[in-house]
């Protein structure tokens, strides 16, 4: 996974939350890189640090969280060192984000049009009328009928799927180089999910935008992504092309995740589960974080395994790879 057209490279990213009960190491040493136009699925269960990783890239971590270490090299610059004003210029322009719940990600008391226009005016210094017609164009591009009229409507006058289309339109307004989509379809009806994701994939393909699709839905990842990164307890434990990770998962956790996808062939079978729960991120024990739940854990697992190559375009963080 290297090459000249790498647009994002994350090295040793650590984002910790300094709570009263202790330090929550939500993201604790994550490395990966992304090529231009690549769609990467970032999967893992709730609390694994997927969203925090996404927010860290845009530096949108709220108190008491802080990015304590690492580099986020985007188009040749370390985003963690650029000044806030420059960062603001990048957000919504080269870097964009789509959130989980379209019900809450638009400001309820402003029209949809004004919310699209304001970022156009900020990033492109368009005049209000130019921005207005560009906004209508953007809405048409995400498949909203009657776009001119809908600009004057408020978010509550849209359905959930339509609202997420508006959010996508805002995110894609400046043809960003990277789109971070934080569970963009989790809050939508199943029938709408595929529509919105297909739309997003078409848009990022057309614009050469790289996308990080954060989700806990393995099936979705298999359908829409080029590569897959699996997170567990704040760490990346497996990363590779879609085919490699799904056909030949190396980490016991990934294997468990894939086994727990309901399959078509074996009806009436009890779904496989991964026993136990993800450990508390405060006072994480040393060594492999998956050790307590791992069916094949052994003595060497008290040392923390690092992500290392296990094949072409495939990495895993497990001492006992190939020996599940």
């Amino acid at each position: 996974m290297s090459g000249a057209d790498v647009i994002l490279e994350i090295k040793g990213l650590k984002t910790h939350f300094f709570t009263r009960r202790g330090v929550v190491k939500a993201v604790d040493g994550v490395d990966f890189s992304l090529r231009r136009g690549e769609v990467m699925g970032l999967v893992g269960e709730s609390g694994a640090g997927k969203s925090i990783t996404g927010f860290s890239i845009l530096r949108l971590i709220d108190e008491p969280g802080r990015i304590v270490d690492g580099e986020v090299i985007f188009e040749g610059r370390d985003l963690l060192t650029v000044p806030e004003a420059e960062m603001r210029r990048l957000r919504g322009d080269r870097l964009a984000m789509v959130f989980q719940d379209p019900q809450t990600s638009l400001d309820p008391v402003f029209t949809v049009g004004s919310q699209i226009v304001e970022s156009l005016v900020f990033h492109q210094s368009l005049s209000p009328s130019q921005a207005g017609s560009r906004a209508a164009e953007l809405l048409r591009a995400v498949g909203i009928p009657d776009a001119e009229k809908r600009l004057a409507a408020y978010p509550h006058q849209f359905s959930g799927g339509m609202r997420q289309r508006v959010v996508v339109a805002i995110a894609m307004a400046q043809n960003p180089a990277l789109l971070v989509a934080d569970e963009p379809t989790t809050a939508l009806d199943v029938t709408i999910q595929a529509q919105v994701l297909t739309l997003m994939r078409r848009l990022v393909r057309n614009h050469g935008t790289a996308m990080i699709l954060i989700t806990h839905n393995m099936a979705l990842v298999g359908q829409f992504c080029d590569s897959i990164a699996v997170m567990y307890a704040g760490q990346l434990i497996e990363h590779g092309t879609k085919e490699k990770v799904i056909r030949d998962p190396q980490h016991p956790y990934t294997q468990g995740l894939i086994r727990s996808i309901p399959g078509r062939q074996e009806r009436c079978r009890r779904l496989d589960q991964i026993p136990g729960m993800m450990p508390n991120l405060i006072d994480l024990p040393p060594g492999c974080p998956f050790r307590p739940r791992c069916p094949s854990a052994g003595g060497d697992c008290v040392q923390r395994p690092l992500l290392r190559p296990v094949g072409l375009d495939h990495q895993a963080a497990c001492w006992r790879r190939n020996r599940p």
Partner: protein, 321 residues
């Protein structure tokens, strides 16, 4: 919209009718004004004559109906003590009270909203500590004490501001207003500030609580992800989202400051309605009390109507029906 206004007018009339009935009944029960109006050694004939003259010899319902009949024509009766139309007395002094109350509310909004915003956005700043403890004082300290302290400091010790009266006024559309002249402004400053303190404290706390909640919302994060400046996120988006409760409180409190300007008016010898009404209550001057309460009730009704109109303007999800 038109139907909404019509229904509000209908409701307002009902409210005013109820207020008038309740107040009239309470006044009827609360004593005999004749004893206040005539000297203690008046003869029984004089008393009867006076009672007949004022219409107080009739039964309660008859008195109320005749009051209602006159009131519908804009006549609330003549003041027993001043022998002038009660409405005229009230309306002569209403501008002074309204000027005081409105200035106090404007002051409260101008101080309270920025202070509340600051306290929410910079919770760890030393200024926030001062704002929040100050607002606690503002809510706790009694108005009359604050007024007296202000007079002591700014009039007695420093001699900067006059301690009583309204000063010079200028006429604007036939209404005497103090803030149009420099002298009037100087007279207005302290009473308005005294009346505003409590409201500032309330608005600060409301704005801060609302902001702290709104700032955690996803759409705030999404606005930041669009690259908007923190100033635009806070002052345009977050602020508009918290305005509904703030406008509600501002509306209610405007009514209260009009009604309860009495204390402040007494301290600063402000020639408003408050003083007139206190005197009227002492002398059981029924027409004046009635006229005052109806005027205040009317203002409450009007302010709440304005608040409702503002709602639909602030939040598209609220429709006036």
């Amino acid at each position: 919209m038109f139907a909404f206004i019509l229904r509000r007018i209908y409701q307002s009339v009902l409210v005013l009718f109820c207020v008038s009935l309740v107040v009239f009944a309470i006044l009827y029960l609360s004593g005999d004004p004749i004893q206040m109006l005539l000297p203690a050694d008046a003869s029984q004939e004089q008393i009867d004559e006076m009672r007949r003259h004022l219409g107080l010899d009739e039964p309660f319902w008859a008195q109320y109906l005749s009051f209602l009949r006159n009131a519908l024509q804009g006549d609330m009766g003549r003041s027993f003590t001043f022998n002038q139309p009660a409405v005229k007395l009230i309306l002569e002094r209403a501008p002074a009270t309204l000027e005081l109350a409105v200035s106090a509310m404007i002051l409260a909004i101008l101080l309270g909203i920025p202070a509340g915003l600051f306290a929410a956005v910079k919770p760890k700043s030393w200024l926030t500590q001062i704002i929040m403890s100050g607002s606690l004082f503002g809510i706790s300290l009694p108005v009359f004490w604050m007024g007296i302290m202000l007079i002591m400091v700014f009039s007695v010790f420093l001699g900067w501001l006059p301690s009583s009266g309204r000063g010079q006024t200028a006429s604007f559309g036939g209404i005497q207003l103090g803030f149009l002249t420099w002298d009037g402004c100087k007279h207005l400053l302290m009473p308005a500030f005294t009346l505003a303190i409590h409201q500032v404290a309330m608005i600060v706390r409301l704005v801060r609580a609302g902001m702290m909640e709104v700032m955690l919302q996803d759409y705030i994060k999404f606005l930041r992800a669009k690259g908007l400046s923190e100033r635009r996120v806070v002052l345009v988006h977050a602020l508009k989202n918290i305005m509904i409760p703030v406008v509600t409180i501002i509306g209610l409190q405007t009514g209260y400051t009009i009604a309860f300007a009495i204390v402040t008016e007494s301290i600063f010898a402000w020639p408003g309605m408050g003083k007139l009404v206190i005197d009227a209550i002492h002398s059981l001057d029924r027409p004046v009390i009635l006229a005052y309460l109806l005027v205040v009730a009317l203002m409450f009704v009007f302010i709440n109507f304005m608040v409702d109109l503002t709602y639909s303007f602030l939040d598209p999800r609220i429709r006036l029906k």
